[in-house]
């Protein structure tokens, strides 16, 4: 429903008792106990935050550029090294770019025409602080302050929809992208074990099951009191109330999901890949059972490779197909492909667009620690059947760097956001981003 507690109070004041009315509002428009039917008009957008600042130049490798080779004598890939673990080339057709060898699955999606790569993405006067830069991307605002870009979309488009129409999967805080004025976006932290949603329920004393209704009703009444507008108490009440309501609804809905693909398990190929797969599987559970599910958010962190970006101790950090970056890119590639297959098995492949982004790229010149320091420009990756596969934007020159040795951007990241808002989500990008940015061609 995405109604907030304040709106609820206004609507229900003087009408019916809280505990009677609330679940109906929350259940509004939601299927009960079965997977939902196909709807060609469904638009699902999955955001993948690649935290830490990913190394774009070793992700989408400009293997023909002699400057790349000069700047990366140790960690750079040659064309003959751009082969995945099966030996298949990861070079993108006749393009002067190849994917990191860890990304064989993404390469197969690219070959099928379902991956758009936007090169040269950045913005004017890029900030190289993880935190400030992340805020800028999340808010789509050069000051990094205010509501999030997806929160503003939700405020416009998701009022009156299910409270699970926008969901963040992951521990820690709600991503700032979802900060909104009128909507509380749920955030669900995965539990270990067979049911990742198991912690997502309001628990009461098991010894006295007969008292549970009293407990739940007391909680709901106390959480729907009036608090000063904008106060922490109000935010706590909103989030707490939404948590109990959303959990009740979600737990019932996701029971009906059956996976249509095999997600990584048992630490293979890595614990990171398993955890990322769990998050994407939770997204699958939600989008297959909640018809309003629209904006889903997952995170894959750890890209801050100042040192030992490649290799392991066994190879003295020289094997470019192993190590820190390869592990993360494999998790990303495998997770995305598995989720894509799952969506296809549920007849949803035409309804899903995924976007991978990071707060910045890394410096072209490798450092002395077999790593790279904070950079600017990065490639963005867009995936899905609705995507027109290919290369977009323009590779930034490695000969024309700024004073810090970083690349100059060619495409404003808000162009990517704007294209998704206008072409996929049916929104008005100008009102959400504050200006109209160039529309890119990766969506019809």
């Amino acid at each position: 429903m995405a109604i907030n507690r304040r709106q609820f109070i206004k609507r229900s004041a003087g009408a019916v008792s809280v505990s009677v009315l609330m679940p109906k509002l929350w259940m509004g428009g939601v299927a009960h106990g079965q997977e939902i039917a196909a709807d060609p008009n469904r638009k699902i957008f999955v955001v993948i935050q690649l935290g830490g600042g990913w190394d774009g130049l070793n992700t989408v490798v400009p293997y023909t550029d002699s400057r790349y080779k000069a700047l990366r004598p140790t960690i750079g890939f040659t064309d003959s090294e751009l082969k995945d673990e099966t030996g298949a080339s990861t070079i993108l057709g006749n393009q002067p770019f190849g994917l990191n060898p860890a990304m064989g699955e993404l390469k197969s999606l690219y070959d099928a025409g379902k991956v758009g790569i936007v090169l040269g993405v950045g913005y004017p006067s890029q900030n190289l602080s993880h935190f400030f830069a992340t805020d800028i991307w999340q808010t789509a605002n050069p000051t990094g302050s205010g509501t999030g870009w997806l929160g503003r979309y939700a405020d416009q488009k998701l009022i009156g929809k299910s409270g699970l129409s926008a969901v963040s999967i992951g521990g820690g805080g709600l991503p700032k992208a979802f900060y909104a004025n009128n909507i509380v976006v749920p955030s669900i932290s995965p539990a270990g074990g067979a049911d990742p949603f198991v912690n997502y329920t309001f628990q009461t004393d098991g010894r006295f099951a007969g008292d549970r209704n009293n407990q739940v009703n007391t909680f709901r009444t106390n959480s729907t009191r009036d608090f000063p507008t904008g106060s922490f108490a109000e935010a706590l009440a909103d989030a707490g109330f939404g948590a109990e309501q959303g959990a009740t609804q979600l737990r019932a809905a996701v029971q009906t999901y059956t996976p249509g693909a095999t997600y990584p398990s048992a630490n293979q190929p890595s614990a990171t890949a398993v955890n990322f797969g769990v998050a994407l599987k939770m997204v699958a559970q939600i989008v297959t059972t909640i018809p309003d599910a629209n904006i889903l958010y997952v995170q894959l962190g750890g890209f801050d490779h100042h040192s030992q970006e490649i290799g392991t101790a066994a190879d003295q950090f020289r094997d470019k197909t192993k190590g820190a970056l390869a592990t993360l890119l494999k998790a990303f590639s495998l997770g995305v492909k598995t989720f894509y297959d799952d969506m296809a098995a549920h007849g949803l492949a035409d309804n899903v667009v995924m976007l991978g982004w990071s707060e910045f790229g890394r410096r072209p010149n490798e450092n002395a620690s077999i790593g790279t320091d904070h950079g600017t420009v990065e490639p963005l990756i867009v995936i899905g059947n609705p995507v027109k596969g290919g290369i977009y934007g323009e590779q930034s020159s490695l000969s024309d760097l700024d004073n810090a040795g970083n690349m100059k951007f060619k495409v404003d990241f808000r162009s990517v956001y704007g294209t998704v808002l206008d072409k996929w989500l049916g929104a008005d990008s100008q009102s959400i981003l504050g200006a109209k940015y160039e529309t890119l061609g990766f969506l019809a």
Binding site: S187, S189, N199, D205, D211, G240
Partner: protein, 471 residues
């Protein structure tokens, strides 16, 4: 000397520590405002032998292998729950967040050593604290300074030292940018060759051959412009003397201990006022904190319950305020330990999300973390196992707080857990006590059977209130 009433004493103990029982609060209030603050911050004078013997008999850190991930967390939570020097642990938590270092990259023994360093030196001159933390193995590893070498500087530490540990990106008061990208690169050069010896106790060592002895030029075009063969020590001295650092540290202390600071002119003036205490007292953290704690700002209406409790404050406070029990066990392998509960709520001690530390206040608030808070309260109150490791409260303990009537009992618990002022929730909670399984009214009886069912439920409900989430 200003007096200190009960609510003010409770406020001071919740902020400078984790909260306490009525007798602890009354003891503090009887000392008056300055007396109470001096008592708390001169914590080395407080007898802590009971906790020390508890630690000695339940922890074994005799070998490096035993200083592991689970044990250092169990150890810190055991300290926080049992210490009589509450401010010592709270201050350590402040510095852990400030110099946020994580076991995701740093070995547990170094995390443990850093934690002890923060505890022992947390009230030193700021210059001294920054230098010691910077030369400690945990930070040298965490921000890659061990690979920051002549000719190939690694900027990680040089950047965060300025952005997060001393000045901040912009001056908190004037809004001016404090440094440039060029300064990041030059400062990084000053710290080249900083490393640690790979043997116990892993002391700092300067690898002279890897140190850049060339001329560094920082802060050009500002009053702090300096050029010369600057060492890391020189840079720290320069940074700690800048007014921007005094303001940034004051701002961080205010946000952590007093109230969320806004961009208003009044708040900037307040920060500047207290920053001068730092500047006028030779960068003494102790004098700065003392000035903040005895201030009218700290005891202003605006400050009371103006912060969202950190998960650590929530779980430790729930035990200390209610007088519950924490069986720390002999190993951190169970499923009900405090560190795991707080981690589920978003605060994994020894593993902050990144070098900026935790995102406070609204950063703690989302539907997942709220459910974890509610379910923590339920598991605490519904746990009747007093022998296994975990947290619990006994019926006898709860019975010592109850009163003869439902209304007085609710009021007693609200006072105990704050004191909290909850408006109409008082009536709702009273109704809960007087409602049976089928929704029918029942008469409240002050006995063990009622305590085991309804008082446990009542305390769970109070701990689910928005007011209880505030500090």
């Amino acid at each position: 000397m200003a007096s200190l009433n009960y609510d003010e004493g409770a406020h001071l103990l919740r902020r400078a520590g984790f909260g306490g029982t009525p007798s602890e609060i009354e003891d503090l209030s009887a000392r008056g405002r300055e007396g109470a603050v001096d008592y708390l911050i001169n914590f080395s004078q407080i007898d802590n032998s009971a906790m020390e013997s508890l630690l000695a008999s339940n922890f074994d850190f005799s070998t490096q292998q035993k200083i592991n991930n689970g044990e250092i967390r169990r150890w810190w939570y055991t300290r926080m729950v049992n210490t009589r020097r509450q401010f010592e642990e709270k201050l350590t938590l402040f510095w852990h967040n400030h110099f946020a270092t994580s076991s995701s990259k740093v070995q547990d023994i170094f995390m443990f050593n850093q934690n002890n360093l923060l505890r022992q030196r947390g009230l030193n001159r700021f210059d001294d604290l920054v230098l010691r933390v910077s030369q400690d193995a945990a930070m040298l590893i965490w921000l890659d300074n061990i690979t920051n070498v002549l000719g190939r500087p690694n900027e990680n530490f040089g950047r965060e030292l300025q952005e997060l540990f001393t000045m901040g990106i912009r001056d908190v008061v004037t809004g001016e940018e404090n440094y440039t990208e060029h300064d990041v690169q030059e400062v990084a050069r000053a710290f080249t060759g900083w490393n640690y010896r790979r043997q116990q106790p892993f002391p700092f060592q300067l690898n002279a051959a890897q140190h850049d002895n060339g001329t560094k030029s920082i802060f050009q075009g500002t009053p702090w412009a300096t050029t010369g063969n600057l060492s890391g020590e020189d840079v720290i001295t320069i940074l700690c003397a800048r007014p921007a650092t005094a303001r940034y540290i004051t701002w961080k202390l205010f946000n952590f201990f007093v109230y969320p600071v806004t961009d208003s002119a009044a708040d900037k003036s307040t920060i500047d006022k207290f920053a001068k205490v730092y500047q006028n007292n030779n960068h003494s953290i102790k004098e700065l904190i003392r000035a903040i704690f005895v201030s009218d700002e700290f005891f202003s209406e605006r400050a009371f319950f103006s912060l969202v409790k950190q998960p650590t404050e929530l779980v430790v406070g729930a035990i200390r305020m209610l007088g519950g029990s924490y069986n720390q066990g002999t190993g951190d392998r169970g499923s009900n330990t405090l560190s795991q509960l707080a981690r589920n709520m978003g605060q994994d001690l020894f593993a902050p999300p990144d070098v900026a530390g935790w995102d406070f206040n609204l950063g703690w608030v989302n539907t997942a973390s709220m459910l974890e808070r509610f379910n923590f309260a339920n598991s605490y109150l519904s746990n009747r196992n007093t022998t296994n490791p975990g947290i619990f409260v006994t019926n006898d303990q709860l019975l010592s707080i109850t009163k003869g009537s439902a209304k007085k009992t609710v009021k007693r618990y609200l006072s105990r857990l704050g004191p909290l002022s909850v408006g109409p929730a008082l009536k709702t909670l009273r109704d809960y006590l007087e409602t049976g399984d089928n929704g029918q009214p029942v008469t409240y009886v002050n006995d063990t059977a009622t305590v085991d069912k309804k008082i446990r439920g009542l305390v769970h409900q109070i701990m689910c209130l928005p007011e209880f989430q505030l500090n």
